[in-house]
């Protein structure tokens, strides 16, 4: 990461001298921040440590007295099970496919909204509707839309028979799941990209136009490089969000035909089968994989984290 040199604003200069004031500011800030930080950590860090502890035990709620220390055996069981890798594969595929499609469609939407002179309010209102709709409702809407007994998709799509059952096979089930996921989250992506587009200077675009750059050249040489930060932050947020996919799968297929995601597997072990030991190991693995993924995206695409963190 590049070093960020902070130029002191003129009115900040006397602060170094006025140390009483600085100390008071420090202590007030801590008091203001403390409740939020404690709350965030109580529900995340503490349970994660608890999961780490439980994952070392063979522990099932159906037989709580048989709790027994087994070391890393739960991790070995999970990692050597093809089910774990199949579900991780599904999750990664959903993440890559949906984020790519959302990025393309979201960018197109953002361009349209950026160019728009009339009806801006109407478009923005409608684009927020998918964002506001509960994921479970979106899942139902698409499940019924793809249904061969009550849906409309089969009759609208050419080359697809009216009695084609989307939920009978793996490939078509995944398409239906991803359709719901993409429908709901593309608007969010397009709003982030729209904010990025607004940062591209019109003067620079005009200059490129005067110099005879074609539309494609302007897109690749001026627009995209200038909104890089916005694109990367949008990709980071959406990719990690897609990796958590759970609601749509739960509602639409409940994991049938191998459509399970890694979140769904973890949920099933813990809540449905009460296997807290192995379930906790899966929780820890899920958390670690998200960490690795976040790190990889940040390093690979050189995401400016200070932009994501909103420092300035």
């Amino acid at each position: 990461m590049s070093t960020y040199v902070q130029t002191a604003a003129p009115d900040e200069a006397p602060k170094a001298v006025d140390s009483d004031r600085t100390r008071a500011e420090n202590s007030l800030a801590r008091k203001l921040v403390a409740p939020a930080v404690v709350l965030m950590l109580v529900v995340t860090a503490f349970p994660m440590l608890r999961a780490l502890y439980l994952s070392m035990f063979s522990y099932s709620l159906t037989a709580p007295d048989d709790k027994e220390f087994v070391g890393f055996q739960n991790y070995w069981t999970a990692l050597s099970d093809p089910l774990f890798w199949r579900d991780t594969g599904n999750t990664v595929m959903v993440m890559i496919v949906t984020v790519t499609i959302e990025l393309i469609i979201g960018f197109a939407f953002a361009m349209v909204m950026h160019k728009l002179i009339f009806a801006r309010g109407t478009i923005r209102t409608s684009i927020l509707i998918p964002y506001g709709v509960i994921t479970v409702v979106s899942g139902f809407a698409w499940q019924f839309a793809f249904s061969n007994t009550n849906g409309f998709v089969n009759s609208w799509l050419p080359f697809i028979g009216d009695d084609f059952n989307w939920f009978a096979k793996y490939d078509s089930s995944m398409i239906a799941i991803m359709a719901s996921e993409i429908w709901k989250t593309t608007p969010f992506m397009s709003l982030l990209l729209l904010a990025g587009l607004a940062q591209v200077s019109e003067d620079m675009l005009e200059a490129a136009k005067v110099d005879g750059a074609t539309w494609i050249q302007r897109l690749y040489k001026v627009i995209l490089p200038n909104m890089r930060a916005a694109i990367m932050v949008a990709v980071l947020f959406r990719a990690l969000d897609a990796y958590r996919i759970f609601d749509n799968i739960f509602v639409m297929t409940a994991g049938a035909n191998n459509t399970e995601s890694i979140s769904f597997l973890t949920y099933r072990q813990v809540i449905e089968q009460f296997q807290l030991g192995i379930g906790s190991a899966l929780s820890v693995l899920l958390f670690l994989s998200v960490l690795v993924l976040a790190y990889a995206i940040v390093k690979l695409f050189k995401v400016d984290l200070s932009a994501a963190r909103q420092e300035n």
Binding site: L39, V43, P47, Y131, V133, A254, L276, L286
Partner: protein
């Protein structure tokens, strides 16, 4: 010539966006008016077939359902309480982040970022275990706590972005006139920050209303089960044979509050959503 082509493309884009955003919503509304008999026998097509319409019957059936009514009350109560508390804590934190220099600012911002990306399902196991030990499993408070933690990052970002726009001099002016830091905060900043607080509240409410993972994992009865969980458990174990039109009516009821919020506060929501991603 070129300009006209651009305008036509934009117009096509607009139509496509509207189609994209409204089609599934229109579909679920249309589905909610199909009669349950027609759905059981199979009624493909976008609109209810002739004689396959149900009028308002699905809606009256859903609203008569005891469990669904409980779920609505749970969702409204839990979401409102979580929103109020989350926004209060986020306001305090965001003020410190936007206005004060202190050690540990980076730690707070990093924590918020990590939590925003946290895989929530990995918490379900330990929380399930802990909540049962503390006796808050299947209760409002058991859902309010995780909702608060997970909405704090978004609320903190939104609010600190808003707070940075507030004229700093006014607070200093108040301090010059003899106000303490705390008084300057309460009397000057709070009224100016109200619109930002409101935006953060809407986004927080959206999250709590939308949550599904905690809703199904940390509840077991209608005592605390929120709408998304209630909808998913609405009928039976067979995921391929649900009473589609009845569920659609329930889904429409659950979506109405959100659509109303969007219609009224579109501008504020957009400002809040994009505040976290791009430096203004």
């Amino acid at each position: 010539m070129k300009d006209i082509r651009g305008r036509i493309l934009t117009a096509i884009g607009v139509v496509f966006i509207l189609f994209w955003c409204l089609l599934p919503v229109a579909w679920i509304i249309s589905l909610s008016f199909k009669s349950q008999e027609a759905v059981t026998n199979g009624s493909p097509g976008f609109f209810p077939s002739d004689g396959g319409g149900a009028g308002w019957k699905n809606y009256t059936d859903v609203l008569d359902d005891e469990q669904f009514r409980h779920a609505i009350i749970n969702s409204i109560g839990i979401s409102l309480i979580a929103t109020a508390l989350s926004v209060i804590f986020a306001t305090l934190a965001a003020y410190a982040i936007a206005r004060l220099e202190f050690k540990g600012k980076k730690f707070v911002l990093t924590t918020a970022l990590v939590i925003a990306m946290f895989p929530v399902v990995s918490l379900v196991g330990p929380l399930f275990d802990m909540w049962r030990t503390f006796g808050i499993y299947d209760s409002w408070i058991g859902l309010i706590i995780p909702y608060m933690s997970f909405t704090l990052p978004l609320a903190i970002w939104t609010l600190s972005a808003f707070f940075r726009e507030i004229p700093w001099e006014m607070e200093q002016a108040a301090q010059v006139d003899g106000a303490t830091s705390w008084q300057a905060f309460r009397k000057v900043i709070v009224p100016l920050a109200a619109p930002g607080v409101f935006t953060a509240a809407i986004l927080t409410f959206f999250f709590a209303w939308n949550d599904f993972v905690f809703g199904i994992s940390l509840t077991s009865t209608e005592r605390a089960r929120p709408i998304p969980a209630a909808l998913s458990f609405f009928v039976g174990a067979d995921p391929f044979n649900r009473p589609a039109s009845l569920l659609a009516a329930g889904a429409v009821v659950a979506t109405v509050p959100i659509v109303v919020l969007v219609l009224f506060f579109q501008r504020k929501i957009v400002a809040g959503l994009t505040a976290g991603a791009v430096k203004g």
